[in-house]
Subunit: 196 residues, 2 copies
DNA sequence: GCAAATTAATGATTTATTCAAG
DNA sequence: CTTGAATAAATCATTAATTTGC
């Protein structure tokens, strides 16, 4: 377990969040250049690829104009699938979370993204999702724990309200997800969990 | 509301998983798993955000992140708050819905928005929400109807009928959030999905 | 030691629920 | 009430971390 290879030990700044995912190779420091002033233009839909699921044979013959660039070996993930946060990114996000941030609004997301972008490829939606997921999963964890210690006296820590009035929206490019109606009439909501 | 985040001094991680993932990424051979192919088209989603600072209890003055918002609120003057669809817009949307569209992807949304924009101010998120809500509400309606058939009893409030305009103004605000935790909500998840 | 196979995490979507404007 | 907007819960899907057989 715990293979501490301090090959490059630089990133060991925080002992508390020391080893979550060792996966450095982050570009680290990007000279910033701040190519864009980011003056505004916060809205505007960014169009991106379109992935039409089954739903019909259309599917456009055009191969695809996707980037891919075949780089991917680049700094790290960059593969194109899903965001893979670096240690630094996670650290900052957790810091913000602990600081009380739960559902950052658009501006906050923008700033955070810009900041985290120094450590690796990242988009605003990643930040958004991270907060959503982290919040939800911390909650589950807590619930599960509290169930575990029925006798314990330390329950407190209420779910912290949340609900920041933020406005943002993510458009999804529906993938080819499940399309057939699951006839699962009774999906058994709890699954393996112990729901009260 | 809880405004009690902050003093969250100690958090601690999972005792058992001190180190989550620290495997330095094994080469893992490309393999690419031909099975999936996935086309790899990275779909960079777009994070749409628009800011509507006020309009609600604002809290979470957490970090210094909040600063310059409230700058441009007027981007949506005239009515200010929410989208008010015109008849043409609704008509087109319903047409699309009946045609089978349920969750348009970004490109589709963009097109629809562009089209509907001819009849009135509208944004992509409005289209997105409309489909979300319409789908959900058609579903409930159907569920309710199927349930109601057993009794054939009027549910009172005959829908559609009467005063759509709601004479009594809503007192607005002063709503309260109720926790669903206590109530044993039997959310009947199972339902037959009726696809046209 | 190495990879395929398995498992645990967690990123990304979809669905259900809630709030509140009109 | 109707329904646009927003959030949370549930679910799906993919990748990293482990385990296992050789």
């Amino acid at each position: 377990m715990k293979v501490h290879h301090f090959a490059r030990g630089f990133w060991e700044h925080e002992p508390s969040l020391g080893c979550k995912r060792l996966r450095p190779l982050a570009p680290k420091l990007v000279t910033t250049t701040t190519s864009t002033a980011t003056a505004a233009t916060v809205n505007a839909f960014d169009l991106k690829r379109f992935i039409r699921p089954e739903s019909g044979p259309r599917k456009l013959g055009s191969s695809d104009f996707q980037k891919k660039e075949s780089a991917q070996v680049e700094s790290q993930q960059a593969g194109g699938t899903r965001w893979n946060p670096t240690q630094e990114q996670i650290g900052i996000l957790e810091m913000l979370y602990r600081g009380g941030m739960r559902t950052p609004n658009a501006q906050q997301i923008e700033q955070i993204t810009a900041q985290l972008g120094k450590y690796g490829k990242i988009e605003g939606k990643n930040v958004f999702y991270w907060f959503q997921n982290h919040k939800a999963r911390e909650r589950q964890k807590q619930k599960r724990n509290s169930l575990g210690l029925i006798h314990s006296h330390i329950i407190s820590t209420s779910p912290t309200t949340t609900t920041t009035a933020t406005n943002y929206l993510l458009l999804s490019t529906s993938k080819k997800k499940k399309k057939i109606a699951d006839i699962v009439v009774q999906k058994k909501k709890g699954k393996g969990k112990i729901e009260p």
